[in-house]
């Protein structure tokens, strides 16, 4: 199991050999496990696959280049922030590229306008603590303290606060975490 060699070489030029692998043991580490309400239904066992390769980009620009390469070589790919709670963020077809976004962990806080810019690898609890350091708090969607803030808000959150249940599900071009003063 692997992705096309030409695609692999092109991806390696984006992130370097350290952050791209098709090693079977490392790919096995990205096998889906049980998650929440899907646990016991067999979703993770029947419908998911282990990735053909895993890539760890650091910047948005690298993600853009990865997506372009995948389109050029017709490589299926799935974004993956923390892998928390289940099968949906894992691979569903053979020879798929898993784009692990945990290295996108940049964090920037605008104290004047009370907003943060975070990468997809940033989870809620550090954001909450940084907000609390400024006398503020951030509303946490239903994914919990260890969920990726971006992923949880965009697509898969488990609360009425998440966009999946709201109107903009899968139509979001940007998202914003806002603080509220105590």
């Amino acid at each position: 199991m692997s992705i096309k060699k030409e695609a692999y070489n092109a991806l390696e030029s984006v992130v370097g050999s350290k952050y791209l692998t098709d090693d079977p043991a490392i790919c096995e580490g990205y096998r889906s496990g049980p998650g929440g309400y899907e646990s016991g239904l067999g979703y993770e066992r029947v419908m998911t696959k282990i990735p053909g390769a895993v890539i760890l980009p650091k910047t948005t620009e690298e993600v853009q280049r990865i997506v372009k390469i995948c389109n050029r070589y017709k490589v299926p790919y799935v974004p993956y922030s923390t892998g928390f709670y289940g099968p949906r963020s894992h691979c569903h077809v053979e020879n798929e590229l898993l784009v692990d976004l945990k290295r996108l962990n940049h964090f920037e806080i605008d104290e004047k306008h009370f907003y943060v810019v975070v990468g997809s690898g940033v989870i809620y609890s550090p954001i909450q603590q940084e907000a609390m350091n400024k006398g503020a708090y951030v509303v946490i969607g239903g994914g919990g303290a260890q969920a990726s803030a971006i992923a949880n808000l965009i697509g898969d959150g488990w609360s009425p606060l998440s966009h999946r249940i709201g109107l903009p599900h899968r139509r979001i071009l940007g998202t914003r975490a806002r603080f509220t003063r105590w």
Binding site: I26, G29, Y30, V54, G83, D100, S125, Q129, E130, Q146
Partner: protein
């Protein structure tokens, strides 16, 4: 409640025996990647910096290097779906088994992560692929010279100086350990002088051998078990009531891993196992040890893994797992809550003149130095990486001195500081206590 399902679910025999990976298939299969094993516990999350507790997964970002990846890999190994390769061995062994993942998981899911990781290494050895070459060299040293380093066995007691009184017979037996006997002799000297200053007689083993920490930690359980039997018999023969250690790894071995390997409870060893931290805490409280000399430094304390989250006493358990994973009889989990956290801080706060500042990650959430359990020998780059991460934290709180309670931490931090060119001094807690005594 669905009573039929509850009572119809077949029960499966299970135990905490690390020689059989099958015992931990349930634990491996129930990981939901919440990453409680990776992040600092959220209640104590310091912010965007210092937010991770796992040294292995900080060193290598792929999921396979975190406990959540290893749980999936472990199932594949147990089911025979994954062949042993050099990369797979690196994944299993590039890990100080520091227990941060285990206590983190037990805030969420109660999975036995630490035991699973130990069982994976034992399986690697059983399958004939483990341990790593560097570990085999240590095993040879222990077999032939009875110490980790291959040093001359007869030199083991050379640390004893004329100003140290060692009794022929006493209730307390000081087990020095390899590192303090040969490499960090200042720790052995300081410990002995503290015992002398407190008026507590102590003896040494007639013929002290390595505790076997590396052997057990890398999966060589048969060899480690033989050493455990030999050492326990030696203590019993000495008539000692208390075994005192100054090394965190020795402490964990004697208190947890010896009973684990021999399938007995810590309480059934036949003698008490204590670390110098416990002794000094009590001695200061009852005034037999008086730290009076002012030590004018700003310092911080690193919770060594084996005197903190890894040292809850061991109790054997076997039973059945049934509906929804419930086990019977009741299993009291080891959550790392019985670590020597407050004892160490009692001592440090009693040192006059010294300003104690905590790092952002403390106690169960402390980041391992990265040296322990065979890691520094096989993956020195991981050990250095983790130590440097921790030293960044020391600098963050502007401490001049880093205090720990483990000779392996001291060696690793000292080396990392030397390579970095930082001006931080590393001291063992025994040396720090001694510096405050008027002797």
């Amino acid at each position: 409640m669905r009573k039929e399902e509850m009572f119809d679910t077949p029960k499966k025999k299970v135990s905490l025996d690390v020689t059989n990976l099958e015992n931990f298939v349930y634990d491996m299969s129930r990981c939901i990647k919440c990453k409680g094993c990776y992040w600092v516990e959220h209640t104590y999350m310091p912010g965007i910096n210092f937010s991770v507790r796992c040294p292995s997964n900080l060193w290598n970002d792929f999921d396979a290097y975190g406990a959540f990846g290893k749980m999936r890999i472990g199932i594949a190994i147990q089911e025979g779906r994954l062949k042993w390769t050099d990369k797979l061995l690196e994944i299993i062994y590039a890990d100080p088994l520091c227990g941060a993942c285990d206590v983190g998981c037990k805030r969420n899911l109660d999975l036995e992560i630490e035991l699973t990781l130990e069982a994976l290494r034992i399986k690697a050895v059983k399958d004939g692929v483990g341990p790593m070459p560097a570990h085999k060299k240590i095993a040879k040293n222990i077999e032939t010279k009875h110490n980790q380093f291959g040093a001359v066995h007869e030199n083991r007691k050379k640390w004893i100086s004329k100003d140290i009184n060692v009794a022929e017979k006493a209730d307390v037996l000081y087990f020095v350990g390899c590192s303090s006997s040969y490499v960090n002799q200042g720790i052995a000297k300081s410990t002995a002088k503290i015992l002398n200053a407190a008026g507590t007689d102590f003896m040494l083993m007639g013929d002290e051998w390595c505790c076997g920490n590396t052997l057990y930690s890398v999966g060589m359980i048969d060899e480690a078990r033989e050493i455990a039997k030999r050492n326990i018999e030696a203590v019993k023969a000495s008539g000692a009531k208390t075994l005192l250690v100054s090394c965190a790894e020795c402490y964990r071995m004697w208190k947890v891993d010896y009973p684990k390997m021999l399938n007995i409870a810590t309480a059934d060893l036949g003698f008490e196992v204590i670390h110098l931290i416990e002794f000094a805490d009590k001695a200061i409280a009852n005034n037999s040890l008086k730290p009076k000399k002012s030590v004018d430094v700003r310092f911080t304390y690193h919770d060594a893994c084996s005197v903190s989250r890894l040292c809850d006493p061991w109790t054997p358990w076997e039973g059945e797992r049934g509906w929804m994973g419930t086990v019977s009889p009741r299993l009291k989990r080891r959550r790392g809550q019985q670590g020597l956290y407050f004892q160490a801080r009692n001592i440090l706060n009693a040192i006059p003149g010294a300003k104690f500042v905590e790092m952002p990650r403390t106690r169960e959430n402390a980041l391992c130095c990265g040296a322990g359990r065979g890691t520094k020998e096989a993956f020195p780059e991981l050990a250095q990486f983790s130590a440097k991460q921790r030293i960044d934290e020391v600098k963050y709180v502007s401490a001049e001195v880093l205090v720990s309670a483990c000779p392996w931490c001291k060696t690793n931090f000292t080396q990392a500081i030397k390579e970095n060119g930082d001006g931080i001094k590393v001291m063992d807690i025994s040396e720090f206590i001694l510096s405050s005594l008027e002797i």
